[in-house]
Each structure stands twice: as structure tokens, then as C-alpha cells.
């Protein structure tokens, strides 16, 4: 109990004293996971929509793959991305191993199926008649997609939160492809593991508190957007 209090105090001290290392680590966590989530959205939302609204041969396999991918273990992703990016690996010439870019790639692989799967679910729960109605009143294809997105925005925001939550909290892949290098690839989760193994429990708890605060902050903003929209735009009956 004493230890937890000490950790919380350490967290406050580190944050408010503007400890440069801690800020750099926090910023890198946000930047890596934020970028990964963004890329996962760009890739995952179109795939999710495609899987929800169209039928093609092999679709069942893709859906099963996406659903499996939603539970992809980060260490397995880390292992495969490492092997690909090592200098001796097939993509070694890119010189990406142990860089933030490698961490983004690994986290995209983790977040992309989550976003795609939840987007697919979001669009499948829409009333199928809505599509026909919108086409019936003369909506063009882009207009149709846009209106459906608007209609599904609550679960879509949930997909964003789940994707971001999945990557900001994972430690396995960023540790393997990033190497936890001080000042270069150390993020909140890997720093927490390191500080714990070095017996600096106060600092470790402090980093954990910062991570939780960060995750809460991002989710709070997204939730505010989600809930506000719901009130301002009453759903058509």
C-alpha cells in the first residue's frame, strides 16, 4: 500500500517537475500508438465496410481471419515483424528495426484487425432497409457511404477506442521491434517493465499512472465526441 502511494507521489513529481525523460517517453507512446491507430483506421474502416456491405467468394475466410486477428498476441506480431525487419531479414535493407517506425508497423498489424472487425460489426447492425431507402431517394454511392458512416458513428468511435486501447497498452511487440532503447524507442509500457525489473517500483507505478491517465484522456475526448453527437443529431426513427 505504501508502495502504491509512493508511486502516485512519484508520478505527480515526475509529471509536474517536467522530467524530460518521462515527457519524451510519454510523447513517444502517444505518437507511436496514435499514428498506428490512424493507419489502422485508414486500412481497417474500408475493409470493414467492404466485408459488411458486399459479398464475394472467399469472404467467409477473410471475415474469419479478421476475427482471429482481433485477438492477435502482440508478442507473436513482434516476433514476425522482427524477423522481417532484422538486417538479415527480407526487409532488412529498410533499416527500420529498433526505430519508432518499426513500432508503428507492429502496432498497425495489431490494431488493423480490431478496427476492421468492429467496423464490419457496426455496419452489419445497420438496418439493411436503410441502404435501399437512401438509394431510393437518389443518393449517389459516395453519399450513401457517407450517410451510412454517419449512421454508424457510435460503434465506429468505439472501434477507434478499441484500436487505440489495444496498442497503447501492449508491451510485447514494441519491446521486440523497438528494443526499449533509452531516448529512442522507450515507451511507457516498456519503461514500466524495465523499472520494475530494476526494482524502481515507485517510478514503475508512476509510469503506469501516466499510461492510465493518457488512455483515460484519449478515451474521454472520444467519448465526449461520441455522446455529444448523439444528442445533437437525433437518430431518425
Amino acid at each position: 500500500m505504501e508502495l502504491i502511494l509512493e508511486g502516485v507521489f512519484t508520478a505527480f513529481r515526475l509529471v509536474f517537475s517536467g522530467d524530460a525523460d518521462v515527457w519524451a517517453i510519454t510523447w513517444l507512446s502517444l505518437a507511436v500508438s496514435g499514428t498506428a491507430t490512424l493507419v489502422a483506421l485508414i486500412l481497417g474502416i474500408p475493409l470493414g465496410i467492404l466485408l459488411a456491405l458486399t459479398r464475394f467468394p472467399g469472404r467467409a475466410i477473410v471475415v474469419a481471419l479478421v476475427n482471429t486477428g482481433m485477438g492477435l498476441p502482440p508478442v507473436v506480431v513482434g516476433l514476425f515483424i522482427s524477423i522481417l525487419l532484422w538486417r538479415s531479414g527480407p526487409l532488412g535493407f529498410l533499416n527500420l528495426i529498433y526505430t519508432p517506425a518499426a513500432m508503428v508497423i507492429a502496432q498497425v498489424v495489431i490494431a488493423f484487425p480490431i478496427v476492421a472487425g468492429l467496423t464490419m460489426a457496426a455496419f452489419q447492425t445497420l438496418n439493411p432497409k436503410l441502404r435501399l431507402q437512401l438509394l431510393g431517394i437518389g443518393a449517389s454511392r459516395p453519399q450513401l457511404l457517407w450517410l451510412l458512416c454517419r449512421e454508424a458513428q457510435l460503434p465506429l468511435l468505439a472501434a477507434i477506442m478499441a484500436g487505440f486501447g489495444g496498442v497503447i497498452s501492449e508491451v510485447g511487440s514494441v519491446l521486440m521491434v523497438g528494443g526499449n532503447i533509452k531516448g529512442q524507442t522507450r515507451v511507457l509500457t516498456t519503461a514500466t517493465v524495465l523499472e520494475t525489473s530494476m526494482g524502481n517500483f515507485g517510478t514503475a507505478i508512476a509510469l503506469g499512472v501516466i499510461l492510465l491517465t493518457l488512455a483515460f484522456g484519449v478515451n474521454f475526448i472520444l467519448t465526449r465526441i461520441q455522446q455529444r453527437e448523439q444528442i445533437r443529431w437525433p437518430r431518425p426513427s
Binding site: A31, R150, Q184, E229
Partner: protein, 278 residues
């Protein structure tokens, strides 16, 4: 008519991407980056955090220290995924130098391993003079022993000691942690078990552990650290110029001064002792 939701999200996302320092390091010329593969202990003790910034400032190189076990570090160097190695397992290092994987092996410092355990010392390890005898006593008492179990330099040394004691530990009282030294000491402390540790990591963590040094000073417990460069003839992509620069830096007089003083202030004794470079 894009709603404020999406507009806000796109804005937030693009701000994040634009402001990101991502890729700036990757974009730098590859030969400025030195990948250093090393055991956990040098990072956990904090020595690398002292030495690397001095080297980077002096030379403009950027060092990427990857702390994995010595066994994994050697494998990484063999594959050509590192430029330079800092390891502590002479029995494994020397054959690899013979086979041409590494060049210019320089043994430059040492510290020692110690056997730590609970103060009650159920196996009476403190009465033993030799490490092999201590391990035999632990085995006879079936007292719990936590092994690193991760193919690290410390783990390799532990296996040598068990062999010297003529024992192959059984599962009942022998626990493999599969983690770094810090985590392994934590497990040993919680379970009030024995373990083999390097002195530097133990001194660093001592205040958080319920463990004591029970056996030290046996010559077989010497822990020798060496630096080796990945052979550019085998791996042309390796940054050999950078590796040589770092190796030369490690044995320079200035660095030896830093190593000599490292830990004195905090522990009243240096954590690493210098060797004449061989």
C-alpha cells in the same frame, strides 16, 4: 457535409502525424547508427547509460543498445543483426572468434558473481568455501534455486557450476525464471530462494530484496566482460567503422576513469573492475 466529429478527428490525427519525429532517426545515414547487442546486466546496472551519451557526444554516432541475454546477443551478432557485442561468456565467445564471426575481442573489465539467498540460509551456503560445494548443499537440502533460464551469460555460468558440482538440477526445487537478472532476483526474494547473480545488479537492487550475499570470492565466480566487433568480411552491412570507434572508446583512458568511478558514490565500491586490455 462533414460533421464536426470527423473533422475534429481528422484534424487531431493529422496534427499528430505532422508533429511526429518519426523516421527522423531512420532517415539518418545508416553508418551513423551502431547496434550494440549486450547482456541485461550492463544496462540494468546503469553503466551503459553513463558511457553511451559520452561516446555519442564525442563522435556523433548514435548507439542502439539492445539488452538481451549474452547467448541471444551472440546469436544476433552471428546473424549480422548487430555491429558490436558486449558480452560475458568467454567459453562461448572465443570459439566464435575462431570461427571468424567476430574480430578484435578485447577483454577489458570484470566483476564477480555471488550466490545470494535468504538470511536464514536453510542450506548453510554461507559455510561453504567453493561455489560447487554450495550448490551441492542446496541440492541436498532441496532448497529452492531460481535460475535465469534465459541462455544469458549468468545462466551459462550457472550451468558450468552445476556441472562442476556433478549435478543436474531436478525440477522439484529448481525454478527457471526465463527473465533478466532484476526480475529473477525479485522472484528469488519473494520465494526466499537461492540464486546466482552478478554483484552489480544485486547491489543495485539490494534495498528492494530480502536476500543476502552468502558466497563470494571463489575464483570460478569471476565475471569477465569483453567487447567484440562483428566481422565485416562475414557481414559487409555491419557498421564496422562505428563498432571499432566504440570499442576503442571503451578501452580509452577517459572511459576507464568513468568505469573505475562507476558506483563508488552510491555503493562505496566500484561495480566493475578494470583489466589490462587483452
Amino acid at each position: 457535409m462533414p460533421g464536426p466529429t470527423l473533422r475534429a478527428l481528422v484534424l487531431a490525427a493529422s496534427t499528430l502525424v505532422l508533429a511526429m519525429p518519426l523516421g527522423t532517426r531512420a532517415a539518418e545515414p545508416a553508418n551513423r547508427i551502431i547496434v550494440l547487442a549486450t547482456g541485461h546486466t550492463l544496462r540494468d546496472s546503469g553503466l551503459l547509460d553513463v558511457l553511451i551519451p559520452v561516446f555519442e557526444k564525442k563522435t556523433g554516432y548514435i548507439v542502439r543498445p539492445i539488452a538481451i541475454g549474452t547467448g541471444q546477443a551472440l546469436a544476433m551478432g552471428k546473424r549480422g543483426d548487430a555491429d558490436i557485442l558486449l558480452t560475458h561468456d568467454p567459453e562461448a565467445e572465443i570459439p566464435l572468434v575462431m570461427e571468424g564471426y567476430f574480430i578484435n575481442r578485447r577483454q577489458f573489465m570484470h566483476n564477480d558473481f555471488v550466490i545470494v539467498g535468504p538470511a536464514q540460509d536453510p542450506a548453510k551456503v554461507a559455510r561453504a568455501k567453493k561455489a560447487a560445494a554450495a550448490l551441492r548443499q542446496i541440492a541436498e537440502a532441496k532448497a529452492m534455486f531460481v535460475s535465469r533460464g534465459d541462455d544469458s551469460g549468468t545462466h551459462k555460468r550457472e550451468q558450468v557450476l552445476w556441472k562442476a558440482a556433478g549435478l543436474s538440477p531436478t525440477r522439484i526445487w529448481y525454478v527457471e525464471a526465463g527473465q533478466g537478472m532484476g526480475a529473477t532476483l525479485g522472484i528469488a526474494s519473494q520465494k526466499q530462494a537461492y540464486t546466482l547473480t552478478d554483484r552489480a545488479t544485486f547491489l543495485n537492487l539490494q534495498k528492494t530484496l530480502g536476500l543476502q550475499i552468502l558466497l563470494e570470492g571463489d575464483p570460478v565466480l569471476l565475471n569477465l566482460y569483453s567487447v567484440m566487433e562483428v566481422n565485416p568480411a562475414k557481414h559487409p552491412k555491419a557498421n564496422h567503422a562505428g563498432a571499432r570507434a566504440f570499442s576503442d572508446f571503451l578501452i580509452s583512458d577517459e572511459t576507464r576513469g568513468l568505469i573505475r568511478d562507476f558506483g563508488k558514490e552510491r555503493f562505496g565500491q566500484p561495480l566493475y573492475l578494470l583489466d589490462p586490455v587483452r
